[in-house]
């Protein structure tokens, strides 16, 4: 096991850099976990969307009633009435929505003329759609009421609408599967493990290749080829050493995931996530290994690590859930192991109980990942063999 030992000697020499990388990725992971928690908590508390209302129409009953009603959906944020300040507020997400009530709005609305409210909002946020809906609902209702009950006073109108819009459909989680006890943490874990995929890729490609670079210098390679130890044995020992390295990292990441999980429950679901992560760690290890033995420039390794980790993370749904991605992207992504890692996580999150039938669903994604790992490792063995036969 000389090579195995040597690996850790080199590791020790590079300890500082490895620690810096670890610090970086653990830091990123912790921030991501906190972000997931924040998002999850937001989901379960009623969301109040920060908006700014610019009322150019002056105060009257209609607008007062409307703003009162809207208050149930939004929080009003006072911001100076200045073009620049308002743009800043949108830019930094201090408000999600700026609603301008133009002068003469109430009068025109009450006399049944065409009216328009103006909005500026941050794009692509579901929150803004809710505000849109709330506003449109109010005025649509008001319009219908006024048309069919023309004698209604504005106070009565507001009263009716308030009553009306108070109605909300009650939503319940299907709790038929009594075995599932930690539903709340499932969303956390799903997002956590999906993003962990990125961290594994980024961290291992950088870390593993870092140590492997030392083995790759021409003189060292020549020296090793001359040693009475077969190329295969060198490779196997190196892979084993890397495995130890990778798995110890994975354990650290599991612990972080557990610590930041709001529910701190370890159940069958957690084991399945762990299993999937370990399998994906094997895949990233094989990818890192092949990069480590083929690329010799350090800058290039950083470039590849960034491109590979971020690129795969984006197209395979580690950051943006797969349900939001386009079909073509997903099809492309399904040719990468990252897609199957995310797929398995998503499947685990959907399991309501851990019956044999349910668990069987993740065999395929796990199997495909293992297939990728095996294929990449075989490729690197071939490359390594070739390299040992080359003169330079």
């Amino acid at each position: 096991m000389q090579v195995f030992k040597l690996y850790f000697k080199i590791f020790k020499q590079n300890l500082f850099s490895i620690l810096v990388y670890t610090g970086l990725f653990v830091g990123i992971l912790v921030m991501i976990s906190l972000n997931i928690r924040r998002e999850e908590e937001k989901k379960f508390t009623s969301k109040e969307i920060p908006i700014l209302v610019v009322n150019e129409d002056g105060n009257n009953n209609l607008i007062e009633g409307f703003l009162n009603y809207l208050d149930a959906y939004v929080t009003y944020v006072p911001i100076e009435n200045d073009e620049e300040k308002r743009k800043d507020a949108l830019f930094y997400n201090e408000v999600y929505y700026i609603l301008t009530i133009p002068a003469g709005f109430s009068e025109a609305f009450l006399s049944g003329n065409e009216v328009e409210l103006r909005k500026e909002c941050i794009p692509n946020a579901a929150e803004t759609v809710f505000v849109d809906t709330a506003i449109n609902d109010y005025f649509n209702m008001a319009k219908v009421y006024r048309k069919h009950m023309p004698n209604l006073s504005i106070e009565e109108l507001n009263f009716y609408i308030e009553n009306n819009l108070d109605v909300e459909t009650s939503v319940a989680f299907n709790d038929n599967g009594s075995k599932n006890v930690h539903k709340g943490s499932d969303n956390y874990y799903m997002t956590y493990f999906n993003t962990l995929g990125y961290i594994l890729l980024a961290c291992f490609v950088t870390g593993v290749s870092h140590v492997l670079l030392a083995f790759n210098q021409l003189d060292i390679r020549r020296r090793n080829s001359a040693a009475p130890i077969s190329n295969r044995s060198i490779n196997i020992q190196l892979i084993l050493a890397n495995l130890v390295f990778v798995l110890s990292y994975v354990v650290v990441f599991f612990v972080i995931g557990y610590l930041f999980n709001p529910n701190k429950v370890i159940g069958m679901g957690t084991y399945l996530y762990w299993l999937n992560t370990i399998v994906f760690a094997l895949v990233t290890l094989s990818i890192s290994y092949i990069i480590g033995i083929t690329v010799t420039s350090k800058n290039a390794i950083h470039a590849i690590a960034t491109a590979l980790s971020l690129g795969l993370a984006f197209i395979s749904g580690m950051f943006v859930p797969q349900e939001f991605l386009g079909k073509a992207v997903l099809r492309l992504a399904s040719f990468t192991p990252a897609y199957w890692f995310v797929k398995a996580n998503d499947t685990i999150a959907l399991m309501s109980n851990y019956s044999w039938e349910n668990i069987r669903q993740i065999y395929l994604p796990l199997g495909i990942q293992l297939g990728f790992a095996a294929a990449i490792i075989s490729m690197s063995l071939v490359i390594s063999k070739r390299k040992s036969q080359q003169a330079s």
Binding site: S17, L24, A126, V171, A300, F319, F324
Partner: protein
């Protein structure tokens, strides 16, 4: 000096692996971003949501009719409705055959399994349905003739009252990803900067030892090397910019000149950052590389390159970080060019960025000037 510059440039360009990946990786990433976000938040390939409906009502169940008739703007039905018993519906939900089921009644109840986009759509639909039916009741109680007066048609005709102000420049989350990628690529120059400093320090590299004994002024050599590095970096940035601007058609605002200035200054910042880390301390080259990578990747993370939410969290809880984080300064400078009419914010960002560059450069200069070695 031109000779030195030329020699160093040749040297850089001949490291094909380095050039290839440094130039290619941002383009690869931009492509991935483009594919990911191209389709995001649009409902072009909307798939009908499978739900189950449990109800005792017969043919004239209004909710049932409403669900069957609901469709998106391009005609895709909103829902595929299965009519089942409650037990069966629950089982279907367990097996992920459906996304939710509705217990129909005068007070419909929605059963879901997890909280996602589709669940929100179903809930909004139900809310709106129920509100409408209450409106109908209230109005009919007060005005029994309303139906004849076209109440139902009026209800169907939901109008839009809010319109987006069309000033052409909406804030756009997607752009933050592309801008922060450009920022990352600028700061990637730190790798080149670090190399150049390592290459002239006798205690850090063999080449450094070699050039230290050559009859060339060290600063002159250093400057020409830096110039060569910035040339190589400029090549990569130009390529990426052309790709973003001409092929992916990313919006950079009205005038390109300040965008190019931002990329230039950003690249210098990266170079100076790498040089500073290289010049500080006697640590191993590998350690310095790790530090540079951590700074660049970390600052890009804080800018939202991986998860854009992080940017907003920083804005909210630690806004000062945005004024010292070079990646954030570059991203914000680019974004302000796109978004604001005035150049006010752009000048602030570029000003601080230039300031940082000068500070980094000066520290690097202090670190490498007048160094002599008795032994190494």
């Amino acid at each position: 000096m031109f000779q030195l510059y030329k020699a160093r440039l040749k040297c850089l360009v001949r490291s094909k692996e380095n050039i290839f990946w440094s130039y290619l990786f941002p383009i690869l990433l931009a492509t991935c971003f483009y594919f990911t976000f191209g389709n995001l938040w649009t409902f072009e390939d909307y798939e009908s949501i499978s739900i189950a409906y449990v109800s005792e009502g017969g043919q004239d169940d209004a909710l049932k009719m409403a669900m069957e008739e609901a469709h998106t703007d391009n005609g895709t039905p909103l829902f595929v409705v299965n009519y089942t018993s409650e037990k069966e519906a629950s089982k279907l939900l367990e097996d992920n055959e459906i996304e939710a089921y509705i217990l129909g009644d005068s007070d419909p109840k929605l059963y879901i399994k997890n909280n996602g986009l589709n669940e929100t759509i179903i809930k909004s639909f139900l809310d709106s349905y129920r509100r409408t039916s209450i409106t109908v009741q209230t109005i009919l109680n007060n005005n029994p003739k309303a139906l004849e007066e076209g109440l139902l048609d009026d209800l169907m005709e939901a109008e839009t009252f809010v319109y987006e102000v069309d000033n052409g420049k909406r804030p756009d989350v997607m752009l933050i990803y592309f801008y922060s990628l450009l920022a990352y690529t600028c700061l990637f120059a730190s790798g080149w900067g670090l190399d150049e400093v390592i290459n002239i320090q006798a205690n850090q590299s063999h080449r450094g030892a070699r050039v230290s004994v050559s009859p060339v002024h060290k600063m002159k050599l250093f400057l020409s090397n830096m110039l060569a590095a910035i040339t190589a970096q400029a090549g990569g940035i130009t390529l990426l910019f052309i790709y973003l601007y001409n092929i992916l058609k990313i919006d950079f605002g009205d005038s390109l000149f300040p965008v190019i200035v931002t990329c230039m200054v950003g690249s210098f910042t990266g170079l100076a950052l790498g040089a500073m880390v290289g010049a500080l301390g006697k640590g191993k080259v590998e350690s310095k590389e790790a530090i540079v990578t951590a700074i660049v990747l970390g600052s890009s993370f804080l800018t939202g390159m991986m998860i854009v939410n992080i940017k907003y969290i920083i804005c909210k809880f630690a806004p000062f970080l945005n004024y010292i984080n070079p990646a954030a300064l570059i991203t914000d400078a680019l974004y302000s060019l796109y978004y604001y009419d005035s150049l006010h914010l752009f000048y602030i960002n570029i000003g601080i960025l230039s300031g940082l560059t000068v500070v980094f450069g000066f520290i690097a200069f202090l670190g490498i000037r007048r160094k002599t070695y008795a032994s190494i």
